[in-house]
């Protein structure tokens, strides 16, 4: 993160949440902007160059406080499956990340009007009057930036007031201090994305190692939180079987797999246009140029390879525990 400059929308310059975030960027020059899209959607940006000096944009979201879940994300059996975007883009730099194909900018936007998101979600729950599943951090990693603004703590507190609400906080972070300070709540699913170290080193720059992630999830698991392990995306890189087998062995050595709430397993898949955009901006990642097949506007591995990958992961997991709840995407 390039901490010398922070862009702030005029309307929220005096917002207490803005001031809270800016207290972590004391050296920064504050550049006043009319709307976050003036910077975020500026034409002609080079994604990779921007990422090398990623800047923070503080903004107010004025609509679309949540979205219906995408067809290529698992809904975990919920009829009302939603996700929201409290932030756009991520501090990490995973080479397979769809955000590179979805947004033209690498800068990170944080929406500071968090109460508006919460109010809208409360209204949604009242409207449907059935269990609602809200994924908080698909377009970012909120736990990784919890020190800048306590989004996770705020939403955990909110979920405790809404019995029909289940929230998912998906992360690769080892930053669990704020979770350890709070009492566990069954309406919160902490979902850790795990990858073999070989893949972390090559394809997940800036993220914590496998062991840091496992130790973090073990600590919150021991405290009584619901924890899901996400093996998503599983990548068929050369040697993938040995990598994933080793990772699952490490995980099973560190924790009882049966203690986990569930597993979510998905192979690499990508919207056609996103993949095309990504290929244009980063030819350094072999992942983006692998042999994929296009089906329903989504690129992924061939059916045979997908079956092989899912079968392999299931068999590896069941080596250590037979009675696991595994969702395949």
């Amino acid at each position: 993160m390039f901490k010398q400059v922070v862009y702030v929308e005029e309307e929220i310059q005096d917002h207490p949440n803005t001031q809270r975030v800016l207290s972590f960027f004391k050296e920064a020059v504050i550049v006043s902007i009319r709307h976050y899209k003036d910077v975020f959607n500026q034409s002609g940006a080079d994604w990779r160059v921007q990422k090398s000096a990623q800047k923070l944009i503080l903004a107010k979201r004025s609509d679309q406080y949540y979205y219906k879940g995408s067809d290529i994300t698992p809904s975990f059996g919920y009829r009302h499956f939603y996700y929201n975007t409290l932030a756009l883009n991520c501090v990490y730099d995973c080479s397979y990340c769809y955000l590179q194909g979805m947004f033209t900018s690498a800068h990170m936007v944080l929406f500071v009007n968090t109460n508006d998101f919460i109010t809208a979600t409360r209204q949604l729950i009242q409207q449907v009057n059935e269990p609602v599943y809200m994924a908080l951090s698909y377009d970012t990693d909120l736990l990784a930036i919890e020190a800048w603004y306590p989004y996770c703590a705020e939403w955990i507190a909110f979920s405790k007031t809404e019995p029909l609400l289940t929230i998912e906080i998906r992360t690769k972070s080892g930053n669990i201090q704020s979770l350890l300070k709070q009492e566990p709540h069954p309406g919160v699913v902490l979902a850790w994305t795990l990858s073999p170290d070989e893949i972390i080193m090559q394809h997940e720059p800036l993220t914590p190692s496998l062991m840091v992630r496992i130790r973090a999830l073990r600590k919150v698991l021991d405290k009584g939180w619901r924890v899901r392990v996400c093996l998503d995306p599983v990548l068929a890189v050369p040697g993938w079987k040995a990598y994933y087998s080793g990772m699952i062995r490490t995980l099973a050595t560190e924790i009882q797999l049966g203690q986990l709430d569930s597993f979510s397993v998905g192979v690499f898949r990508m919207n056609r246009q996103f993949l095309k955009n990504m290929q244009g901006s980063r030819s350094d990642s072999p992942l983006l140029f692998d042999r994929y097949v296009l089906e329903n506007d989504v690129y992924s591995y061939t059916d045979d390879l997908q079956k092989e990958m899912y079968g392999f992961i299931r068999a590896e997991l069941e080596t250590y525990c037979q009675d696991l709840k595994i969702t395949f995407t």
Partner: protein, 275 residues
């Protein structure tokens, strides 16, 4: 990638022309173009229109990769006089929009906003827009350049000459103060351009040698060329240079007909992806 430093006035460009040892290569009315080893220098003439048309001329010249820098004097009411500033936001008075230069490294110069006007700003105007600085070309420079290059190649560095509408210019005393930090400004421009070049190219492994080698043997359609590029980007990551050449060598030197070409091409793609 070459840095092209763009000025409104020849007097502003003069110390840079001398320090960078640039030679005049083109003169068309107000437009002057100087070329040097490390950098080129463009002088556009005063005002938005002159700058915009000079940028159009510049990018029409040759396809060489360029990063463009708008450098020169500006007015400022609450900013230190005779100080250089790195511009972080450029406001266009005419359309009320803004351009945000992509600063990618810590600058030795403080950051400021800039407002581009159509006429010299008097004292009252400068006070009204402070702490932003005022000039007469910056916004047109950015918008015109944006039509040709990515936004990370567009930058501005401005020197606060005065706070009273440009009267400083007549005395000529400003020149010595202006030239004092030419080395530091040039260093910022050149080092950042090198850094930018490295950043842009570190994500693009060079596959041109392999493409050319294959092109000599088979005539590829646009789609085949794209498929080949993808396979080469993939293979380049896993195979050594010599192994890749070996795979390409296996492609027969002469292929009789289209069917044979197609079969050979499919086999080549398969071999490239076989890791």
């Amino acid at each position: 990638m070459k840095a092209v430093i763009c000025f409104a006035l020849l007097q502003e460009a003069r110390p840079f022309i001398e320090r960078a040892d640039c030679k005049l290569v083109v003169q068309k009315k107000q437009l002057h173009y100087f070329s040097g080893n490390a950098t080129d220098i463009l002088v556009s003439g005063v005002g938005n229109l002159n700058m915009a048309s000079a940028m159009g001329w510049l990018f029409g010249q040759n396809p060489e990769e360029k990063a463009v820098w708008n450098v020169g004097t500006c007015g400022g009411s609450q900013s230190a006089k005779h100080q250089w500033y790195r511009i972080i936001k450029v406001n266009g008075e005419a359309d009320g929009r803004a351009f945000f230069p992509e600063v990618i490294r810590k600058s030795i110069f403080p950051f400021r906003e800039l407002i581009t006007l159509h006429a010299p700003a008097n004292k009252m105007k400068l006070e009204q827009v402070a702490p932003a600085l005022c000039d007469m070309e910056g916004y047109a420079f950015c918008r015109a350049a944006q039509s040709f290059v990515v936004s990370s190649r567009i930058h501005l560095l401005k020197w606060v000459s005065d706070d009273d509408g440009g009267a400083f210019y007549k005395s000529g005393e400003w020149k010595a103060r202006y030239a004092e930090q030419v080395d530091a400004v040039l260093n910022e421009i050149l080092s950042e351009t090198v850094y930018l070049h490295e950043k842009e190219h570190q994500v693009s492994p060079d596959i041109s040698i392999y493409l050319e080698s294959i092109n000599r043997k088979v005539t590829l359609t646009f789609t085949q060329r794209e498929q080949l590029k993808n396979a080469l980007f993939y293979a380049r990551h896993y195979k050594q240079h010599t192994d890749l050449l070996e795979v390409i060598e296996q492609l027969p030197a002469t292929l009789a007909d289209r069917h044979q070409q197609k079969t050979a091409f499919i086999q080549l793609l398969k071999s490239l992806r076989d890791v």
